[in-house]
C-alpha cells in the first residue's frame, strides 16, 4: 500500500505521495490514514465545482484535484481578479481546503502555472517562460530527454523551431507548448454548459429560511419567464441553484413535457420537488445567492385559448403528468410506444411521458378475429409445468402459481423465431406460442422455449394473460 496524497503537515516532515505505507509508518509513528476513495474524491470535486458556479457559469473539472474557472468578464463583480481569488480562498478555507491558484491568459496556461510554477516572476509572460518542461506533461523519459538536452524551461523550448519539437516528441508536445504559450486556443469543457437563460440574485446578508428562498425563487422564475417571452421561447427544464455561504451549492431541477412560460406551473413543480426531497434543502449558514437557469428552451408562440376549452383540458393533463413525474421520478410516468420487432416483450417501449416521441401507429386488429396478443404480459416470462399429449404438441394441462389448469381450447402454435440476423449465435431459441383457454374460461399465452431439434428438453413458460 502506498500513500495517495498527504497533507501539508505530512509534507513538512518528509512524507510524499507514492511512498510505501510501511516506510511512512517507520518514519512517523502516529499517522492518521484514510483509505483512498477516488469516487468520493471525484464527487467532492464536483460539489466544489458546483459551488464555484457562483463566480462564473464556465467551471471545468481538472480531475483529480483541479478546477478551472473562466472568469473573463465576471471578475469585476467581486472587485477584480484579486477579489475573486480572496473570496474563493476564504470559502475553501472554511471547508478545510487549502488551494494553489494561478491566473493565466488561457486555461492551459493558468493550469500549468498553478501546478508547476516554482519561482515568482515579474509578469505573466515571463512566469510562463520560466515554467519547467514538466508542465508539458509528456512521458517521463521524454521530459528527461528534454532536460538532458539542456531545455529546462518552456522559454527554452519556445525559442526553438516548433517543427523540431514536433518531429522529436510528437505533435502532441508541440500542441501542448502552443497552448501554454497561448498560441493555440485551449477550449474549456465546462461541467455544465452555460444555459441560455439565467436569472440570479445575490444577497448582502445570507438568507436563513427556506421559505424566504422559495419566495426569491418565484421572483426569479418571473424574470426568467419575461426573458423567455421576449425571445418567443418556452422552457423545458428549469434548474435552481442555491449557493450557501460556506461555498457549497444545491441544485434543484424540474422538467416539463412541453415548453412553458407559465410561472405558476413552474413554481408548483418546484414546490412539488422541494416537498418531496429526501434530504430537505438545508440553508446551513444561509444562502447568499440563488440562481435560476433554463438550460433547455424551445420555441413557443404566443398562445390563445380555444373557445371550446379542449386545449385547457389537454394542458391540465400535461401538467398532471409533469407534476407526477416531478414527484415520482421521470421514469415512472410513462407512455407506450410500439417498437419494430416481433419479439413480444420488445414490441412495446415504455418511455417517460416527459419526452416520449410522437405516437406511431399500432398493429390494427384483424376483423372478426380474437386478439393474438395478451392484455397483460409477464416480463420475464414465468416458468410453468406442462403436460402435453405429444412432445411437440399443444399443452394438455399446466400448473402455474401452484394451481393446476386443464386446457379446454387452444390455438397454435404461432412460431416466433429469434432474431438470428442480429446476433451471431442466432439470437437464441425458437418459441412456439399457444393461446389456450382453461376450464374456467381464462385465457393464457403459453410458449415452449425451443423446438425439440434445438434442445433436448425445452421448458414451458407463461408469457401473458388475455382478457
Amino acid at each position: 500500500m502506498r500513500l495517495a496524497s498527504v497533507d501539508a503537515a505530512a509534507l513538512a516532515v518528509g512524507l510524499r505521495p507514492g511512498m510505501p505505507l510501511a516506510d511512512a509508518r517507520a518514519q512517523l509513528g502516529e499517522l492518521m490514514i484514510v483509505p483512498h476513495d477516488p469516487v468520493l474524491d471525484q464527487d467532492w470535486l464536483d460539489r466544489l465545482a458546483q459551488g464555484c458556479a457562483r463566480y462564473t457559469p464556465l467551471v471545468a473539472l481538472d480531475a483529480p484535484d483541479g478546477l478551472i474557472l473562466d472568469i473573463a468578464g465576471a471578475a469585476h463583480l467581486l472587485g477584480g481578479e484579486a477579489g475573486v481569488v480572496a473570496d474563493i480562498e476564504g470559502r475553501f478555507a472554511r471547508l478545510g481546503m487549502t488551494l494553489r491558484h494561478a491566473l493565466g491568459p488561457t486555461a492551459d496556461a493558468a493550469r500549468a502555472l498553478a501546478r508547476y510554477q516554482a519561482r515568482p516572476a515579474p509578469d505573466e509572460t515571463s512566469a510562463i517562460r520560466r515554467l519547467p518542461v514538466a508542465a508539458l506533461e509528456l512521458e517521463a523519459e521524454e521530459t528527461t530527454a528534454l532536460v538532458r538536452a539542456g531545455l529546462k524551461t518552456i522559454g527554452d523550448l519556445a525559442g526553438r523551431p516548433m517543427a523540431n519539437l514536433a518531429a522529436r516528441f510528437g505533435a502532441d508536445a508541440a500542441m501542448a507548448l502552443r497552448r501554454i504559450m497561448g498560441d493555440a486556443p485551449s477550449p474549456l469543457d465546462p461541467r455544465v454548459p452555460p444555459p441560455p437563460v439565467v436569472a440570479e440574485r445575490r444577497f448582502a446578508e445570507p438568507l436563513g429560511s427556506t421559505a424566504h428562498a422559495a419566495k426569491i425563487l418565484a421572483e426569479l422564475v418571473g424574470e426568467a419567464i419575461g426573458d423567455l417571452a421576449e425571445r418567443g421561447k418556452g422552457g423545458r427544464s428549469f434548474r435552481a441553484t442555491f449557493f450557501r455561504s460556506d461555498g457549497l451549492a444545491r441544485d434543484i431541477a424540474i422538467e416539463t413535457g412541453h415548453p412553458t412560460r407559465d410561472a405558476g406551473l413552474v413554481m408548483r413543480l418546484f414546490a412539488e420537488r422541494l416537498d418531496g426531497l429526501a434530504d430537505p434543502l438545508d440553508p446551513g449558514f444561509g444562502f447568499d445567492m440563488i440562481r435560476l437557469a433554463v438550460p433547455r428552451i424551445e420555441t413557443l408562440g404566443a398562445s390563445q385559448l380555444g373557445l371550446e376549452g379542449g386545449a385547457v383540458k389537454e394542458a391540465a393533463i400535461d401538467e398532471l403528468a409533469d407534476r407526477l413525474a416531478t414527484r415520482l421520478g421521470r421514469g415512472r410516468v410513462r407512455r407506450l410506444r410500439p417498437a419494430d420487432t416481433h419479439i413480444p416483450e420488445q414490441a412495446q417501449l415504455e418511455l417517460p411521458a416527459i419526452d416520449a416521441p410522437a405516437p406511431l401507429p399500432w398493429q390494427a386488429p384483424e376483423p372478426g378475429e380474437p386478439p393474438t396478443r395478451p392484455f397483460h404480459l409477464f416480463d420475464p416470462p414465468q416458468p410453468i409445468e406442462v403436460i402435453a399429449e405429444v412432445p411437440d404438441g399443444p399443452p394438455h394441462r399446466f400448473r402455474w402459481r401452484r394451481q393446476a389448469h386443464a386446457v379446454r381450447r387452444y390455438e397454435g402454435p404461432e412460431r416466433i423465431a429469434a432474431e438470428w440476423w442480429r446476433r451471431r449465435d442466432n439470437g437464441g431459441l425458437t418459441r412456439d406460442y399457444y393461446r389456450v383457454e382453461d376450464a374456467q374460461g381464462r385465457r393464457f399465452w403459453l410458449f415452449r422455449h425451443g423446438l425439440y431439434d434445438e434442445k433436448p428438453d425445452p421448458r414451458w413458460y407463461i408469457h401473458g394473460v388475455f382478457a
Partner: protein, 262 residues
C-alpha cells in the same frame, strides 16, 4: 363510556343521513360510460356514471386481467383522444404482468391514450390518485390495487368521490385479490373471465366477461351478465354460447371466493 356511545352513534347516523341526502348522490351524473350493450346500459340507466367511483373486484386472483381489461375497455370505448390515466404500484408488473399495448391495440383500444403512472407503495398510489382525479380532461382514472387496501378507508374514499364529482372525472378502482368492503362507490362489480365462444378448430374466441353487480346506489344489485367484447364494433354484446360446448360456468359466488382470497 357506555352511555356516551349512544349519543355518538346517534350523531353518526345523523351525519350519515346528511351525507346521504346532500352528498354525492344528490348531484346528477354528467353522462355515462356506456358498454354498447343495450340491456346492460338500460339496466344501469345509461352505463357507468361519469364523475363517480366504480369498483371492480376480480372474482379470483387469476381474474385480475379480466377486471383490468373490462375497466380499460369501458373507458377506451368512449370516442375522442382523452387519456386514460392508469395508476398502479411497481409490484403489479410482477403480480399481474405489464400492461401490454399490442394486446390493447388488438382489442381495438388506442394505447396512445394510456398514461401509465407507477408508484412505489399504496400510500403514494392514493396520493397520486387524489391528484389525478382532480384533473379534468381524462377519459377515466384507473387505480389498480392488490389485496387489502387499508389506506382506502371511508374518509379516503369520500375524498376521492368528492374530487371525482367536482372535476367530472370517473374513477375506476381495480381491486384485485380483495374482498368487497363498504365504500362510497357508485357501483361495485365482481368481474371474472367467462368461457369464450369457440371459433373454428376449437380455438378460444373473443374475450368474455362474467359480471356481477354487487352494489349500485341507484337501484337493485345482484344482476349478472355474461358479455363478450366485439372489437370490430367497439362494443360489448351478449355471449352466444354454442350448444355443443356448455361448460356451465363458473358462476362463482363472490362470498366463497372472497373468503378464499382473504
Amino acid at each position: 363510556m357506555r352511555e356516551s356511545s349512544h349519543p355518538l352513534a346517534g350523531l353518526r347516523q345523523r351525519i350519515a343521513r346528511i351525507a346521504a341526502s346532500d352528498g354525492v348522490e344528490s348531484h346528477r351524473a354528467e353522462g355515462w360510460l356506456a358498454s354498447g350493450h343495450a340491456r346492460f346500459d338500460d339496466a344501469l340507466h345509461g352505463g357507468l356514471a361519469i364523475g363517480r367511483i366504480h369498483e371492480f373486484f376480480a372474482a379470483d386472483a387469476l381474474d385480475a386481467t379480466s377486471a383490468a381489461a373490462f375497466a380499460a375497455l369501458v373507458a377506451l370505448r368512449a370516442p375522442g383522444k382523452a387519456p386514460l390515466i392508469w395508476l398502479r404500484t411497481t409490484d403489479a408488473n410482477k403480480r399481474s404482468g405489464r400492461i401490454y399495448a399490442p394486446g390493447i391495440a388488438e382489442l381495438g383500444g388506442d394505447p396512445d391514450r394510456l398514461l401509465l403512472v407507477e408508484t412505489a407503495d399504496p400510500k403514494m398510489l392514493l396520493a397520486c390518485a387524489n391528484d389525478a382525479i382532480r384533473c379534468a380532461g381524462s377519459a377515466a382514472v384507473i387505480v389498480e390495487s392488490w389485496g387489502k387496501f387499508p389506506l382506502l378507508d371511508l374518509t379516503a374514499g369520500r375524498r376521492l368521490a368528492l374530487g371525482a364529482r367536482d372535476a367530472g372525472t370517473t374513477l375506476l378502482m381495480l381491486r384485485l385479490n380483495a374482498v368487497p368492503t363498504p365504500s362510497v362507490a357508485e357501483t361495485r362489480w365482481s368481474v371474472a373471465a367467462g368461457p369464450s365462444h369457440a371459433l373454428a378448430a376449437d380455438a378460444p374466441g373473443a374475450p368474455a366477461f362474467d359480471l356481477e353487480l354487487l352494489r349500485w346506489r341507484g337501484g337493485p344489485a345482484g344482476t349478472r351478465w355474461r358479455l363478450d367484447w366485439n372489437h370490430d364494433e367497439q362494443s360489448f354484446r351478449e355471449t352466444a354460447l354454442s350448444g355443443a360446448l356448455l361448460p356451465l360456468p363458473a358462476r362463482r359466488a363472490m362470498a366463497s371466493h372472497g373468503a378464499a382470497a382473504a
